[in-house]
Structures are given as structure tokens and as C-alpha cells.
């Protein structure tokens, strides 16, 4: 088979994996400081790595997967040299930062993992490749092979996919939770041994959203544990796409993209903004699709607001809807010279459309005075920024109870 056709098949079948980012970690004397996107594909996702499968020949039969054994599709495999050629030629032309290599399970997990390692080793040693390498750990592969993968790669990942381990058994008859958690836990120990807390090295995982009835709470709770116990750098959330029409899975017409977006926002709040899960979600609850989780949190805690912008601490400021890490830092820097007024926000390029309901400027409040959060909700709906996701109709609900009186 021609290389062009192989690439068509093996990139098409790799595209559903979101567990990758070319991030700040760098290999040897590489000069990258921050993640670089080289392009954005027609679905608006960042392209920074050559994301391909080594092969789509698979012994497993997972219900959600395009490459499952029982699907009648064209099958093929790259040779290690073909992958090395594509990676280095694409890298030289500045199409990519590196390689994201995943694979279906050919013969057995160890056989596949060994081929992947052989490819990575060749790329580093024979082709002298210094760019980024992300290797997928094949569930069930042995420890020696996992260690080898960690040494060649900037990052590795084992995908959990299904948050509920009991449901995993029926959806993926060939996989067990143990086949996933064992390599992940081993990788955690090896990464800290090899890279000793350097920024380099690390692992991530992916959870599918909407393939089972698992609540956002259940998904985020698992993510939080993975960050704490498995020292994961990132958990990726991937809206379920109904490819196989398998009766074990829900018949969704469209992937739940807005829900996926909300999970990422919640993930950010936990990782970067120091929120605790129970501040955002109650047990077995889902995230609100209308408001982002920070706005929802603020609406639930109106008693904490408004804050005086010239006095609030950094930790308080980053909890204000519409103010992020960068904005809070700018505010702290600027208010050393003069008391900030609402007009100054424009100069600082901070939008106050949302924040105005939660802040005072030199004691002056520019929002609306009310004890009814629904009134604020109505005003906030007008400034929604999620219009990039057109899959949810309920966006334009209004809070009717508030539509009377002095808005």
C-alpha cells in the first residue's frame, strides 16, 4: 500500500484521541518555551503533533471505537521507518512540533508496545529527532516496555475512557480497569524516578463524556483523584461521538460539545484556580450548561460579593467571573499607582461585562442592586461567550421570574 493511503487510514483512525498537547516540556536542548499550535483543523482543534496510529489492526472489540475488531474497515500498519520519515520531514517544514503515536492492539499489548518503542528509539537515535514525542501506553503492556517508552517520550498516556469501571467491562470486553491503572501507576513512579520532578516527562489520560450515564461529578471526582494520586499533568475530556451505533451505547445525534467545554472549565478551576470540587459540584450533579462553572459558583455565593477591586486579594480576584489569572495580575500591578476606576478596565483590556455585578470600584457599584440572583442571571445571559457551540438550544432560556420589576 502507498504511504499516502496508509497515512489517510491511520490518521483518520487516530483523530478521536484528544489526550495530547505539545506543552512546555522540552527534550534536551530544544528551545521551545511554550506550546505551539501550527494549525487548526476544520473542527477548530489545534494541530501541533503528527497524530497517527502505528496500526489499526485490532484484537480488541471496544463498543465506542472505530477500530474495533468487529468493524469492517480497511486495515494497515506503518513501518517504523515510514513514521520516522513523516515525522522528520513534517518537523523540518515546521508543520508540527512532534509525534503523537498511538495504536490499536496488534497480536497482543506487548507486541504492539514493542513496535512503538522501536519506532521512538529509531526516531531519536537514527534520525536524531529532538522534537516532542508522545507515546500511548497500550493497556496491559509489561513494565519493562513502559519504562522504555517513558525514556524516549516527553509524555505518555493511558486512556481510561470510561469513568465507571463496571461499565468498562461490558463496553470493552477485552479491557479491565486493572490493565489501565497498573501501567499508569507504574508510569507515575518511573517518571518521578527518571525525571525527578523536572518539568519534563509526565502522563495524561482521556475520559469519554456522554457514552455512559456517569455524572459530571463522577467524572470530575475521578479526574481530581488522578491529579492527586497519579500525578497526571492533564486529563482530557472527549465528547462521545456515536460512530458504531452500538446498542450498548446511547444513540446521540450530536456529540455533547458544550458539556465537554464545561468540564474543561471546571478542570481549569481545580488545577489553576484552586477551587475544590465540592465548591463547583454536588454529588452526582452535572455542570450547568448555561453558565460557566465560575459564574455559577459566584451566583450561588452572592453573599461574598461585591468585592472592592482596589482591596481584594489575588486569590479573591481570580474568583470573580470574567477575571482570569492575567487580569488579576494586571489589576494588582496597576492599583499600586492609582485607585482603579471602571474606565481603567478598558485600558487594562479586561472585560467587565460579567465582572461588573461582582465588583465595586472605589466603593462605586455599577451592577444592579438585588437579592434575586435570577435578575443577574438574565443580564449575564446576554454576554454569553459560548456561542461557538451551537449544539445546545437551551442557551437562550430566560429566567422568567426575574422579568418583572426594575431591571
Amino acid at each position: 500500500m502507498e504511504l499516502l493511503e496508509k497515512l489517510e487510514i491511520l490518521s483518520n483512525s487516530a483523530k478521536y484521541d484528544a489526550s495530547c498537547a505539545s506543552s512546555k516540556s522540552s527534550f534536551k536542548n530544544n528551545s521551545r518555551l511554550s506550546g505551539i499550535c501550527h494549525s487548526w483543523s476544520a473542527d477548530g482543534r489545534c494541530v501541533s503533533l503528527l497524530k497517527i496510529l502505528l496500526t489499526n489492526i485490532c484484537e480488541f472489540d471496544c463498543a465506542y471505537c472505530i477500530n474495533r475488531k468487529s468493524n469492517n474497515i480497511k486495515r494497515t500498519a506503518f513501518t517504523p521507518d515510514e513514521i520516522c520519515l513523516l515525522t522528520t520531514e513534517f518537523y523540518k517544514r515546521n508543520y508540527i512540533e512532534g509525534l503523537f503515536l498511538s495504536s490499536a492492539v496488534m497480536k497482543n499489548p506487548d507486541f504492539t508496545m514493542e513496535l512503538m518503542n522501536k519506532t521512538a528509539s529509531k526516531l531519536r537515535k537514527e534520525y536524531g529527532f529532538k522534537g516532542y514525542i508522545h507515546l500511548k501506553i497500550i493497556p496491559g503492556s509489561n513494565e519493562k516496555l513502559i519504562e522504555e517508552a517513558i525514556r524516549y517520550a516527553d509524555r505518555v498516556s493511558v486512556n481510561i475512557e470510561i469513568a465507571d469501571s463496571k461499565k468498562l467491562d461490558s463496553i470493552c470486553p477485552d479491557k479491565t480497569r486493572e490493565m489501565i491503572i497498573k501501567p499508569m501507576s507504574y508510569a507515575k513512579d518511573k517518571i518521578s524516578e527518571i525525571y525527578e520532578n523536572k518539568k519534563h516527562g509526565g502522563q495524561s489520560t482521556q475520559l469519554i463524556v456522554g457514552a455512559t450515564e456517569d455524572s459530571d461529578y463522577k467524572i470530575m471526582n475521578l479526574a481530581q483523584k488522578l491529579y492527586e494520586k497519579m500525578k497526571l499533568k492533564r486529563v482530557y475530556y472527549s465528547a462521545f461521538i456515536n460512530i458504531n451505533s452500538d446498542e450498548r451505547l446511547p444513540a446521540l445525534n450530536k456529540p455533547p460539545l458544550l458539556r465537554e467545554h464545561r468540564l474543561y472549565q471546571a478542570d481549569w478551576l481545580i488545577r489553576i484556580y484552586d477551587f475544590k470540587l465540592n465548591e463547583i459540584l454536588n454529588e452526582n450533579e452535572n455542570l450547568n450548561l448555561i453558565f460557566d462553572p465560575k459564574t455559577q459558583w459566584a451566583l450561588n455565593n452572592l453573599n461574598l460579593f461585591p468585592l472592592e477591586i482596589n482591596k481584594a486579594s489575588y486569590d479573591e480576584l481570580i474568583r470573580v467571573p470574567g477575571i482570569g489569572i492575567v487580569g488579576a495580575k494586571k489589576i494588582i500591578k496597576a492599583r499600586k499607582f492609582s485607585n482603579l476606576k471602571i474606565e481603567d478596565m478598558k485600558k487594562l483590556r479586561i472585560s467587565v461585562k460579567k465582572a461588573v455585578y461582582f465588583l465595586t470600584f472605589n466603593g462605586k457599584y455599577h451592577g444592579i442592586t438585588t437579592n434575586n440572583p435570577d435578575k443577574i442571571k438574565n443580564l449575564l445571559i446576554e454576554y454569553k461567550q459560548d456561542n461557538l457551540f451551537e449544539d445546545e438550544k437551551l442557551l437562550y432560556t430566560t429566567y422568567l421570574s426575574a422579568n418583572t420589576g426594575e431591571l
Partner: protein, 226 residues
Amino acid sequence: MNVTYDKSFEGYLTALKFALEYENSKISSEDVLGENINIKTQEEHDWAKDFYIELKTIYLSEREGFENIALNYLRFIKNDINKKNDITNKWVNLVEKIKKSYFSELHRMKGFLRFMEFEKGSYIAKISTENNIIEDLGSYFKKRMRENFIIYDEKRKSIFIRIKDKSYIKKVENLRFQKTNEEIKIESLWKKFFNEIAIKERANEKLQKSKVPLKYRKTITEFINF
């Protein structure tokens, strides 16, 4: 009083140093109506080391009247370097804006630049940017690549050229080159990959457009002849 200089970066620094001594002075690269003083370029500028990045970025932004933006900025911060953080001040704010424009375009081009092979083992890329970023961009790729390469700035008719360990910038009139056969093959592989990697159930042209603005697409391989 108007101070004129020779358009070089060192000349611009010399003009700034000189103009700062006079309250109502201005700077331009060419003579204007009224009194003009042409200064002689000095090479040493130790005085500027605390705001070197700002002055250099303002210069490379090439926006109209950039010399006087720098001059007003310096007048505001020269007695108290901490004033660099007073971002609600008009001049500090403008300089922050210029820096942001420069560095975000530089970052963007680290991703968007596309090399083509024009003879075996040698690569060329075309750019056309708002800010004059060729020097910073060139040094970035010098570290990233082992190969010889040229970056051609179409707007300013200049090239950054790297041959083995050496690199320099020079002016050019016209640059013609042809892709190698290997190049044509690799480009079609890349375009194939780029098409396949998009998930059609998630198609979102609006998002793609906001991430890859149309003005950059004319030099990005996967967006040409689509």
C-alpha cells in the same frame, strides 16, 4: 526642535538620548518644517539597558511616529523605573499594547511559518508580517533546525539567511525559487493528514477562522489551493 537620525536602531537610540534633554523636542527620520538637528549615530547605549526590550520592540513595530511614542514613554518613566508598571498611564499602556502585538505575532509565526525545500537539504519560507520580526524569528529557527534555510520577508524585501553556523539579514530585490519533487510529495502527504484529522461531527469553521485569520493563510501550505 526636531531631531533627525539615519533610520538605524542605534541612530534611533542616539536621537532619543539627545531629544530627552529638551522639553519640546520631537524625532523623525526625515527633515520636517522648522528647526531640524541631524544627530551623529553613537554605538554605545548603556543608558538604555533598563528599557531596552521596550525601545527595541517599539522600533520594530514600525508604526507611524514610533520615535515619539518612545520619547514620550521615556519622559514618563525616566526618573522612576517602577513607572513601567503604571499600566493605566497613556504611554505605558500604548507601549504594552505594542509589545503584545509584537510578541503575539512572533509566537503566532513560530507556528504558522512554512518551509519549502528548494534544493536538496535547503529550505525557504515566506512571511509578510505587521511587525518586523525577522531577526527574532530567524534566531528561533536557527536553534530549532539543523538545515540551511532562508526566511523571506515579502513586505520589507529582506531575508534572514542561515548557512551552517553563520546567519545574517540582507535586503533583496526579487526572490525566485522552485520546489523540489520531494517537496511536492511531502506537501501532498501533509495536506492529506490535515484533512483527515478533522472530525466532521465537530466541524466548526468559525472557531477555525478565529484561530487562523485569513490574512495569514496565503503562506500556510495546508490552506493554499484548498
